[in-house]
Symmetry: C2
Subunit: 345 residues, 2 copies
């Protein structure tokens, strides 16, 4: 085995180029205060030695680390993984790197947040878990921006980016009503989950405005595997709903399968609307009508907020709602051509 070679440092480069280490440092910076000639020499020497600045040592003297932590739960929904992917990619674009800080179950995000702090991250994006006020306060005091994805926490001065859940749910409700559904049910996560709550409320408020209400609710689920039994339960009761709005597409897919198992025809006997627009929703076997929650704008808003904060913006706090878009496919009857919605499939 070859002897592990020590990594070239700024001093090695300085020695080879015949200049001071300051000159080397400056050559790798914004290029000011170095003559072209020196810079060329330095870069050549660095190339020879295979030198690359140590990002960690850099951060010690006050520079940013370039690390951004993402506190995230289990990546079981395709939406989550697309989100992680898009965020990581987007961050590379602004010279930052994603440090993954997974938390499990409904456990507090605090552990993940504190771990992130040990690495002097420039900012943290929280997409899962609940956060104690103490930890949030700590981040505020230390000047580390905290961005909440998919949830709003009032008062703590934390920036939040999330879907226009109520608006999306309203669109879903209107579509269901338009296509003639009268008995509309909701399936969601329950237990005070934030997006779930907003979506359920959005559905309910829209129905009530028209003198209706949610006829049935099922909860404590978030996965396709969970959608199936809940769908079975809801659909084999006496007052079977003829329209179901699901908190997300994964659940909706489970419900579709349950409906099929029961011999129901979609959309004739049952209309289903999901939320997110995961790739599977467009699959031939499901053709799920859904409220699309576009990932790119979400990630863009997060990265932008993050950069604003790091640039020193100090407005109190910002809640960005990402507009949703109704995508009508096969699981809702097409009674009329909907206005302002996209139709595909």
């Amino acid at each position: 085995m070859v002897l592990p070679m020590k990594r070239a440092t700024i001093k090695d480069v300085a020695a080879l180029a015949g200049v001071s280490s300051s000159a080397v440092s400056r050559s790798f910076g914004d290029g000011t205060h170095v003559s072209k000639a020196t810079r060329r020499k330095v870069l050549a020497a660095a190339e020879t030695l295979g030198y690359r600045p140590n990002a960690l040592a850099r951060s010690l003297v006050g520079a940013r680390t370039g690390l951004v932590a993402l506190v995230v739960g289990r990546l079981r929904s395709p939406f989550d993984s697309l989100f992680v992917d898009a965020l990581a990619e987007s961050l590379i674009g602004v010279g930052k790197h994603l440090l993954l800080s997974p938390v499990r179950g409904d456990q507090r995000a605090d552990d993940g947040l504190m771990r992130a702090l040990d690495y002097q991250v420039d900012a943290v994006v929280v997409a899962a878990g609940t956060m104690s006020p103490e930890v949030a306060d700590r981040f505020a005091r230390m000047g580390v921006p905290l961005i909440l994805s998919g949830r709003v926490v009032d008062g703590a001065g934390i920036d939040c980016v999330l879907a226009d859940n109520a608006g999306g749910a309203a669109k879903a409700a209107e579509l269901l009503l338009r296509t003639g559904c009268k008995r509309i049910a909701y399936i969601g996560r329950g237990h005070g989950a934030f997006s779930d709550d907003e979506r359920r409320r959005g559905l309910r408020d829209t129905l009530r405005r028209l003198g209706l209400d949610i006829v049935a609710e099922a909860r404590a689920a978030v996965d396709r595997e969970d959608g199936h039994p809940l769908g079975m339960e809801l659909l084999s009761g006496p007052d079977r709903p003829n329209g179901i709005f699901c908190m997300n597409d994964a659940l909706a897919v489970g419900v579709i399968e349950a409906a099929r198992d029961l011999g129901l025809r979609l959309p004739e006997d049952l209309a289903v609307v999901g939320f997110d627009d995961i790739p599977l929703a467009a699959a031939g076997s499901y053709q799920l009508t859904t409220v699309a929650y576009p990932i790119q704008p979400t990630v863009a808003a997060i990265v932008e907020t993050l950069e604003d904060r790091l640039a020193g913006a100090d407005w109190p706090s910002r809640v960005i709602r990402i507009p949703t878009r109704l995508v009508v496919r096969g699981t809702t009857r097409r009674l009329e051509r909907a206005v302002g919605t996209r139709t595909e499939g």
Copy 2:
């Protein structure tokens, strides 16, 4: 806005506890060379100040950073995201953190690898992209372990962890033959993709041993969206295959949809076998027979290898094959009870 507070350092703790910074450092280390009384004082002071050691400063003096980079492509397959998730979680378990280094398309992984090096990562797991020998050599010289997931590179002394692709493909082939398929096709990625190649070869070798051969091949695809058109193409030709082995489940799902669009009955007219066993394969709508590539053992092998290397193991290189398991579901005819395979659904 509250003035950003400086983070407490070891000196602040030392001052408050009335001891030297060495004592503080030692109190946070393995606990040797500190009296119980001192340690208690230090820990109390640290608690008061909310002190946590700076992981980055630590790494400057030679300690490990605790960072492990994962070079990964677009997380479009559920398999990929489950892998990332499991790896991140597993690393937390051994006190390490995942730094995501995404690369796009078929671009070289070199960029991602070099970026990782800037952060003094303890090791790198490469799951996507191709690697130049120069970069691999550089890692070797610097003593940073490199672990390849899903591919084997000979000679470079790099540890590799991947599925027993040939064995899995052979199982798929045998199952297809056993259920009476004679015209068997393959759909994969092509362009010399490693796993694709091994799986195709595994299928072909098994067929040839029985005097048959692959009757048709389609390639340049890896997604469910890609599976559909390829399936259409393959299934509407003159000599329609009655069995298709797909490089992964996502493709297989696309193929199933194509078959349905063409009015073919599964498994009577067409048998389909996938690879990976993503959650969707078990879904009611697909019931896909597949070669399961278990994620937990894969991740465990990676983490174990990584720890061995970091502990100084210097055997030349190690290729770990993760055994696969045939999961028989609805997309293959059940002619007989298969021996040594699991049946579900």
